[in-house]
Point group: C2
Chain length 232, copies 2
Amino acid sequence: MQKDSNKSVVLLSGGLDSTILLHYIVKVLKKNVTAVIFDYGQRHSRETTVAFKHALNLNVDWRKIDAQFIGNITSSTSVLTNTEKEVPHIKDVVGLAQPPTYVPMRNLMFLSIAAAVAESVSANTIYYGAAEIDTHSGHWDCSLEFLNYINKILNLNRENKISVEAPFITFSKEVIIQEGIKLNVDFTQTHTCYKGEIVACGTCSSCSSRIQGFLSAGVKDPIPYNIEIPWN
Amino acid sequence: MQKDSNKSVVLLSGGLDSTILLHYIVKVLKKNVTAVIFDYGQRHSRETTVAFKHALNLNVDWRKIDAQFIGNITSSTSVLTNTEKEVPHIKDVVGLAQPPTYVPMRNLMFLSIAAAVAESVSANTIYYGAAEIDTHSGHWDCSLEFLNYINKILNLNRENKISVEAPFITFSKEVIIQEGIKLNVDFTQTHTCYKGEIVACGTCSSCSSRIQGFLSAGVKDPIPYNIEIPWN
């Protein structure tokens, strides 16, 4: 198959970062995108529903990957794939090397599978929504070193040199949100809360970094929260 | 969870190399093993049936991973996951950088998933049956460089340092077969042929390297072949 330099794969969760990234890749870089969306037994599977809306609205190709095995494998240790465990309050996870919401090897699996999609559709780039805060909140698999080694691995491929790019990896949540505003992204159609409800808890680590980002950007987050947020 | 230094994961396909490796890890290294077996839409899915027999006979824990999505993703390019395409004769693939039997990113996906299993069961080592011939027959994902970078990635994990070891990566097929004989492995219960039939074709690249290995070892392969092999 002929390699198309405009063809790329975007890892799309339906969260804030990957959704804004998708809009950036389509609207600014004008790439021909295949969005890869994972159903992995996550308790916040609502994220995939909103992810689809963006893929459909932007008229991009998509692949939904049925990766329930990830939930089966990781439910012994991760609260994100085991609804019998409780999602911790942000105050109980600050500073942990790996919080209970960490899903073992999830991002390595996601990128490996995205690379298989890329090689199969002859794309040469995978876009990955890792952001600066991720690596400071327990996610070694969002770090620059991780990105570097993944690229070293993919560069060993003898025919298809695919690279992973993470344009937001050094960006704060505030900067990413400002990018989203510029790109006219509908933030009501993004899902962040680990608990998975349509009304966000506002107290899990994921909600917490989203709220901080909007507060820093001086913008009210349009989604509903279960707690009072001092927007003004 | 407490890490158990004796706990390991073995990638088990049911082929010659990984089966002999499993016997080696259990009988010689005396590790507490979880065997990981993949159902990925491979045309030679018979390999998983024989893989199970060894896991059960050796009384090791196992996980079967339902990874049909690999077949869905890769069937556009790989004959191994698309039964409408033909498995090529060895003479048509010698020297190709990546033969039509190459499955995009398969081993990277397998190792990522095996690493998730390892982290979830608190194992510290993954054993991988890559052999010397693999890297010379189109499999960049069986090379020493690949192994090196995978280990660099896994070493970034902040809590669970898991390593991948490939004890046979510099071994010829002949040496691996001799190891299997020493370990009393039942070769009739291994599957190698890409075509997937119980009577091996003898002409695909996978059969070819197996036959060459037995010939070099001066031993008759006990499985049935569809062609005459000059064993004596």
